[in-house]
């Protein structure tokens, strides 16, 4: 039986067999909680930009949530904008710099609570930008309160007995709404809780960014992201919890893909 002896130094020095760093990060230090899905979402977005050679000229617009702190790290020109307004700011940027690849990053609180009007009208106008939504169904940055995408029964700090439609209304399926608008060219919902889902979601991002380059219209990728801290579940259970709760309500799928 082969085994690695641990009672003596290894015969050979260890060597780097693969650089696993994400592209387009100025540092690998980060502030995200253990088990958070957002860094994975940011990574596949940055990989998609790099692999499509769209980095030069790219401009990001980032809203307010846990992902907001990453603006100091992501090596892309970024406008950190007001809560909810990223699609509007991105509209102004893209109209003045149509050659740039313009993307937004928002959470569910940012896009679907505060900024529902902005994203719907931006999609309806067919603005040629790519909006990325990190949907974890909770206000993570402020410590675990209900958002409009929290699923029925979800316990949050301000729906402590679970989201109850009688008291809190129903979740908004934002991607379905946007897919129904003529201005949207591509709308997909991915997730980052499993390797297969991550690979699939990255393909979605690449498709969205490619269509933006072709001037196809509004593109959006919703990414279901784990938030064990805001869900009050153990880190190791984040992925399974998401599969059992959010993914059942928000299935991973391509909702719209113009030919």
């Amino acid at each position: 039986m082969n085994y690695i002896a641990t009672n003596a130094p290894p015969a050979e020095k260890s060597k780097l067999v693969a650089n696993s760093h994400s592209p387009l990060l100025q540092t690998t230090e980060h502030h995200f909680c253990a088990g958070c899905g957002e860094p994975v979402g940011i990574r596949i977005l940055l990989e998609a930009l790099s692999e499509l050679s769209l980095v030069d000229g790219s401009i990001g617009v980032v809203g307010h949530g846990c992902y907001g702190g990453a603006v100091t790290t992501i090596d892309v020109d970024i406008l950190q904008c007001l809560h909810g307004r990223a699609p509007s700011c991105a509209t102004g940027i893209k109209r003045m710099r149509p050659e740039s690849t313009v993307f937004t990053i928002q959470g569910d609180g940012d896009m679907v609570n505060e900024g529902l009007q902005e994203v719907l009208h931006t999609a309806a106008r067919g603005e040629n930008i790519t909006c990325v939504l990190f949907n974890n169904g909770v206000f993570g940055d402020t410590g675990g309160q209900m958002t409009t995408t929290s699923v029925i029964g979800q316990r949050t700090k301000n729906s402590i007995n679970g989201r109850d439609p009688a008291a809190h209304g129903f979740p908004i399926h934002i991607s379905n709404l946007i897919a129904s608008l003529e201005g949207s060219a591509y709308v997909a919902r991915g997730a980052v809780h499993k390797a297969g889902a991550i690979a699939k979601t990255k393909r979605m991002l690449k498709r969205a960014l490619s269509l933006q380059q072709q001037g196809a219209g509004f593109t959006m990728v919703e990414i279901l992201t784990m938030c064990p801290t805001g869900w009050f579940v153990p880190v190791s259970e984040g992925g399974d919890y998401m599969a059992d709760s959010m993914e059942k309500i928000y299935p991973v799928t391509v909702l719209k893909n113009i030919a």
């Binding site: 387009l24 100025q26 540092t27 230090e29 790099s50 980095v55 030069d56 000229g57 790219s58 401009i59 617009v61 603006v71 100091t72 790290t73 992501i74 090596d75 892309v76 020109d77 970024i78 406008l79 950190q80 904008c81 007001l82 307004r85 509007s88 700011c89 991105a90 509209t91 102004g92 940027i93 109209r95 003045m96 710099r97 740039s100 690849t101 009007q117 902005e118 009208h121 106008r125």
Partner: protein
Amino acid sequence: MTLRLMEGTEAIAEAAILSGCRFFTGYPMSSFTKLLEHFAQKLPENNGVCINAESEIEGINMTIGAASTGARAATGSCGQGLALMQEAIAEAALNETPLVIFNMARNQQDYFQATRGGGWGDYRTITLAPKDVWEAVEHTQLLFHLADLYRAPVLLYGDDLIAKTQVGVEIEAREFGTLPDKNWALDGKLSGTGKSRVTWTFAWGKHNTPGLRADKHWRNIAAKFDAINNIEARWEQQYTDDAEIVVVAFGTVAKFVESVVEELRTKGHAIGFFRPITLWPFPNDALEQATNSVRRVLVFELNAGQMIDDVKLSVADKTKVQGIGGVSVHDSGLSYGDLLSAQSILTRIEEIITGDKK
């Protein structure tokens, strides 16, 4: 000189485009609507973009986006719409994005909104209040310059009269001096180089190029507005050298007051006139000097008394200060009321003069 007959909103739109404005957003609202219509017609012909925004909040945020790329960009509304924009005006002040905002106000009740603002943080907005269309044309061009010079949102306090009055105008490009390079403008050219930029009110910067962060950045912003306060005050005064009474008024209303003061001068009264052209910075020192030896300082403004606060802060002996205006709007709520007439102003001033003689 070739004069062209045009209404104020058209003249302002042309002046803005001549100043290099390439982006405009708006949401129809009286007295602002026609300004939006003129931009919608003229900007596409001039390599620009005009978006019919779905709300004032969306509109100003689009404008912030456009301006963040270095383009000259503007938006506008009346005071009611500017109320919705307050958060974004503060944002632009604190992340240092140059914007021009046109308030085609329905009356003079937006003075506090313009000079105090309703956003968050330590910021001010340079506000120019033209007395007529000709001055609005000049101010529009000056505002684009000041916005870029100070990297700040700036306001034009126009009104219903400026918006709708038709006059003969010649719109000529004006020079206001050189401006710093817009090396802060986001163009994506530094993306992926390790030197990319971030525009953010909190000024954290990037890992490789750290910013000042909030405390220092906001102190710098406060110092910048303090400096502007000392530099940019503009005003007009007449007959103040020998005046016993000085009347203070702003905007188009001041033009009515000016003519009444002229009339009273011809009747032999020792009366003068003072008009703040910038509402912020308010010309405190100039008003103090102009009123040092007068008996009375009368403030004629068509609101419940807003600018009078700044007048009292300027005049050494504030017991001399008296408001003679008041709330006066058309019953529609959309424009000025009956108090805006030379006769009303004359009557109110003569009552004071007569009372003083008793």
